[in-house]
């Protein structure tokens, strides 16, 4: 936590200090970045995932973002593993879960149109790839939204998908590596 935040006793609303991600039992570090806007209906899907992960005990590694890409990149500097969660708008059935490994190919930038800023998630990942600034491991999970109009609350299929994704991330807390193993396994799960 930054000195001033510590000094201020300010707990940033729903967020910690992304510059100091939690470290796992192996000295590695993990960051789960949830991107969205709760006031644009299904664009808030990743933030609902964040809520559930925090309730499940992963608050120390979960951060919320509003979608400005450079801010996402800055948080990767001292992180070994990043799980990015965002809403997608690809035309797939609402609630569909997409999973991307940026090292296996370019991200479909149009998927993330509803990120608030046009230098958003996909641009940040691709720029970091070009500049050699990607963390050693980064996976992007996206929940297909159905409604991005102004207003709060997710549509039903998207709410179900957000809960499912969060539960999969949380699913293996009993193994020696705890949540971390669950997340890694989740990242490697080809069925997602």
């Amino acid at each position: 936590m930054s000195e001033v935040i510590s000094h201020l006793g300010v707990c940033p609303k729903g967020q910690g200090d992304a510059r100091r991600p939690a470290r796992d039992a192996h000295g590695g570090s993990l960051l789960i970045q949830c991107v969205g806007n709760r006031l644009r209906r299904d664009d808030g899907a990743a933030l609902v995932v964040a809520d559930r992960l925090r309730a499940g005990g992963l608050g120390s590694v979960v951060r919320e973002y509003w979608g400005e890409g450079a801010e996402l990149m800055q948080a990767w500097e001292a992180v070994d593993r990043v799980l990015l969660v965002d809403a997608a708008c690809s035309g797939a059935t609402p609630g569909t879960l997409h999973r991307f490994d940026p090292l296996k190919g370019p991200l479909p930038r149009d998927f993330f149109y509803y990120s608030t800023h046009r230098f958003g998630v996909a641009e940040a990942v691709e720029l970091a790839k070009v500049l050699g600034l990607l963390p050693p491991r980064l996976i992007l999970c996206a929940i297909e939204g159905g409604c991005f109009s102004a207003g709060d609350g997710l549509t039903e299929p998207v709410a179900l998908a957000a809960a499912r994704l969060a539960d999969e991330i949380l699913s293996d807390s009993s193994c020696p590596m705890g949540h971390e193993a669950g997340i890694v396994r989740h990242l490697e799960n080809p069925s997602l």
């Binding site: 930054s2 000195e3 001033v4 000094h7 300010v10 967020q15 046009r118 720029l127």
Partner: protein, 436 residues
């Protein structure tokens, strides 16, 4: 995007304007080589922040309005704070004022650098985006990212976090940052100044599309400093008024094709310009000697009439903001108290600060208990919207002979001159050019 061309009719349609904060559209119809219709549309639903504030305690306004924008929250926070302080009859001076100005410098640095290198510079170099730019100029983009991070760092130290800072309140701060945290910025700011100078010189090599206009430049002006977070409202037409008289001289009009309101100068009902170029035109003599020297070196005169040179002005202002931040850090004195007390009373208060995109005006009417009875927020992009349309007319007339793709390119580039924050202006943008 769709295009059509028939005899004397040309149609160009772009359904989403990229690299602009938010959602919006430009519709352009050209008939027989002349502009038949041009509409710059903003169609994000209005955010209704003004209505949201009604009935709330006056102390809630800074944190609520900060949510209007993730890029320039300081503009909303401090404009709201100043309005409430004016209503309460208190002023924030000395070290607390310096901390506000320091935080605002952080916002200018991060916002300007983000816009210049990740959103706008690709236009000038023929790249579709900053990813292509980074393939050819990786070190430039890396340095820009570091400089942007420095701006965020300044905001974090004072505000607790860079996006939607949480430590500002009516009357000052919730908590005074540690001296060591402020002084800890010194080395990074010294390095950041060198980077800012280098990146400013990078813009000297850009090619600027031909177009000039005689702008009515409107900005804050302060007797003792390059106005950032405080001052009177000044116009290049001689206007010099206190912030409280803004609504006497400026108005907003609604047009059916846009959700955002159009700012106009009362009387002439004409457009006016706010933002970096307006500030530079009105106040460039108050920039630091280094910033003025750099401005001259990269080709800026005392007045800027080509809006495409706004990218250079942003970098000159970035250099100034880093210098100013360094000055404030080196001279830091801890305030005796984190805030001055502001007691509620039935009153009207106005506040205005220079968001990176231009002046951001707030006015609130409070009841005796400090409940907000009415709120009015005039963000910079809505003030610029009419001027953007006028620029687009001029740019299209000047570049009418270009093929559709190139004309579309220069139109998008012209809109980005304003770093429009559409989400703020509607309280999100598409591009359509039609030649018929």
């Amino acid at each position: 995007m769709s295009q059509s061309a028939q005899s004397d009719t040309r149609v160009i349609e772009v359904n989403a304007l990229a690299r602009v904060e938010g959602e919006g559209a430009l519709y352009l119809r050209v008939h027989d080589g002349a502009i038949a219709d041009l509409k710059f549309r903003i169609y994000e639903p209005p955010r209704f922040f003004e209505a949201l504030l009604e009935g709330r305690d006056f102390r809630d306004a800074p944190d609520i309005t900060a949510r209007i924008c993730g890029i320039c929250p300081m503009a909303y926070i401090l404009s709201a704070c100043q309005a409430m302080e004016a209503a309460a009859g208190v002023s924030v001076t000395g070290p607390l004022r310096d901390l506000r100005r320091l935080a605002y410098c952080g916002e200018w640095i991060q916002s300007h650098v983000l816009h210049v290198f990740l959103l706008h510079a690709p236009d000038f170099l023929g790249y579709d985006d900053s990813i292509q730019l980074s393939r050819d100029h990786p070190e430039v983009v890396k340095k820009a990212l570091k400089l942007k991070k420095l701006g965020n760092q300044v905001l974090e130290v004072i505000g607790g976090r860079a996006v939607h800072p949480v430590n500002f309140r009516v009357g000052g701060l919730h908590c005074v940052p540690r001296r060591s945290a402020i002084e800890g910025l010194t080395d990074d700011l010294e390095r950041g100044l060198e980077t800012a100078i280098e990146l400013t010189r990078f813009t000297a090599g850009l090619a600027f599309p031909g177009f000039d206009d005689d702008y009515l430049s409107v900005s804050l002006r302060h007797a003792d400093e390059y106005a950032i977070h405080e001052g009177r409202i000044a116009g290049s037409d001689g206007l010099d008024i206190p912030v409280s008289e803004f609504e006497t001289h400026f108005d907003e009009e609604h047009k059916a094709h846009s959700n955002a309101l159009y700012g106009v100068r009362k009387g002439s009902r004409g457009p006016y310009l706010v933002g970096p170029v307006a500030r530079y035109n009105n106040n460039q003599r108050q920039l630091s000697p280094l910033a003025r020297e750099l401005a001259a070196e990269i080709g800026l005169g005392e007045t800027v009439t080509n809006p495409f040179r706004s990218i250079q002005v942003r970098m000159v202002e970035t250099v100034y903001a880093v210098e100013e931040a360094l000055r404030l850090v080196r001279g830091y004195r801890a305030p005796e108290a984190p805030a001055v007390e502001a007691m509620p009373r039935s009153a009207r208060g106005s506040g205005c600060t220079e968001a990176p995109r231009g002046i951001c005006f707030h006015r609130y009417d409070l009841d005796p208990d400090g409940r907000i009875q009415a709120a009015r927020i005039v963000p910079p992009t809505s003030q610029n919207q009419r001027q953007i349309e006028r620029d687009l007319r001029g740019v299209v007339e000047r570049h009418m002979s270009l093929p559709d793709d190139e004309l579309r390119w220069v139109c998008e580039q012209a809109i980005r001159n304003y770093d429009p924050c559409i989400s703020c202006a509607t309280h999100f943008l598409k591009l359509t050019v039609e030649r018929v």
